[in-house]
Symmetry: C2
Subunit: 250 residues, 2 copies
DNA sequence: CGCCCATTTGACAGCTTTCAAATCGCGTGG
DNA sequence: CCACGCGATTTGAAAGCTGTCAAATGGGCG
């Protein structure tokens, strides 16, 4: 797309530079990594629990999510990913996938051989640190989700999730600060929060009637960020996006 | 303790060698890392949410746990750690702690400057990879915990947690396969599972009466591993301990 | 021996789920 | 352009799992 840099891997570079200072040669090396482009249709799997993936997958456009299926058949979504994210660094480096990765929307992705990832990570410390940091931020978000589903009531969980999405999408330049398109069904929101779709619906309605959010189709407008963040017990520190950790959204 | 190698950092080496092949010079370099020994009393904090730790903490003896406090005042424990674990690699590398680390029992620990950790990780790829892998396994366990508190009922959650402890303690050489000392109160178990202490008590009683476990003080004996694993929807793959992922405990 | 904390037990309340059905939204085909 | 069909959303009523509250019991330690 860009004249100055036509590599499709640019979204990955953009994200990693949030976390580490790269030299020009780091940038060139990162963008020159071997990769295969592919388009994944909505709902299709990228990795399945138990697979032994040989490639890591970088998202270029669209959304994906990671989930686990428990014995009773219920699904728990453990994370949502967007352009720039390396969605199965975990699975490919660990060897055997411990969860599924599925396309939430149509998504363009690039597959990079896991050996190439390991090589560049140790050949170029700035890149290696950015990748490591990225997996650490993922871990921080997992911890917050454990607390969210473990110790917050339904209303708080939903508000928290909406706040998280707002900040992460905004950080990726994919939305305005208080308005975004959320390509998820209420059933998927339920699987993020450990609730039922019916109850998600009720909580969204409450937040809407209370004047904290407005909904139009699947688009969400946060009408009152400060109060939504209060309701959702939301503090942005765990996202490690930098900036004032305690500040409300401007 | 050991004549051949008196470094107190040996438990960390032991754990990391589960995941990467080290050369002799790797081992020497790891054990020679600069560190300060300290004993932490039961209940004392090692890191608090919001701190900016400059050192990473390696556990030598005892247990610690990581937890978050939500707005309503409830506590969610997100992980339990034992000898060999680097309990705040996450906090120290991310810069600002997003959770608390507290001693579950009296614990001996070694503090290593975070810059020394970063240096050795990139100077010695085998060590760097082992550390990265370690944080990835942590992430895998977080994902399982999200699913555990999000999509399993109380009985299943408790059984799952007991199975996880059994395997992790056994992998660390801290217990027999079907019998271990669990230094946690029922209130702490409740904070791991997102339940109340009262309900944890009820579930433990049920598992005991059903003949799946036996309790003596805080020691747990797993009387019927296969059925406890069934009840707990437990599959060991997410622990990435190697071996047959689907095998029942021998 | 007595205190204190953890465990255990019982009764009841309540948040969330379950089950069903109606409504809405939107792409497709007549 | 409108009817149809199907999935998603919405709503209501009732059940149930887990939480809350309270009190009794038990165990360890000074």
């Amino acid at each position: 797309m860009s004249n100055s840099n036509p590599s499709p891997l640019t979204p990955m570079l953009r994200k990693m530079e949030l976390w580490a200072a790269f030299s020009d040669s780091d940038r060139e090396a990162l963008l020159a990594m071997p990769h295969t482009l592919k388009t994944i249709k909505e709902g299709h799997y990228i990795v399945r629990d138990g697979d032994k993936p040989t490639h890591s997958c970088v998202m270029l456009t669209g959304f994906t999510y990671r989930h686990k299926i428990v014995g009773a058949g219920a699904r728990q979504i453990v994370s949502i990913h967007r352009a720039g994210d390396m969605v199965d660094l975990q699975n490919s480096l660990l060897g055997t996938a411990d969860h599924n990765v599925q396309a939430l929307t149509r998504a363009e992705v690039a597959f990079i051989p896991r050996e190439a990832v390991k090589e560049i990570a140790f050949a170029r410390p700035a890149i290696g640190f950015a990748m490591w940091y990225d997996t650490l931020v993922d871990g921080s978000i997992f911890r917050e989700w454990v607390a969210n589903v473990g110790r917050r009531d339904a209303r708080t969980r939903m508000a928290h999730l909406l706040c998280e999405f707002a900040l992460r999408l905004e950080a990726a330049g994919l939305s305005e600060q208080t308005h975004y398109e959320l390509p998820m069904t209420q059933e998927q929101l339920a699987d993020c929060t450990g609730l039922t779709p019916v109850h998600v619906n009720r909580m969204l309605k409450e937040l809407d009637k209370g004047g904290f959010i407005q909904r139009d189709k699947r688009a969400v407008t946060i009408a009152d960020w400060r109060r939504l963040a209060e309701i959702g017990d939301f503090q942005r520190g765990y996202l490690h996006l930098g900036g004032d950790q305690s500040a409300a959204l401007q």
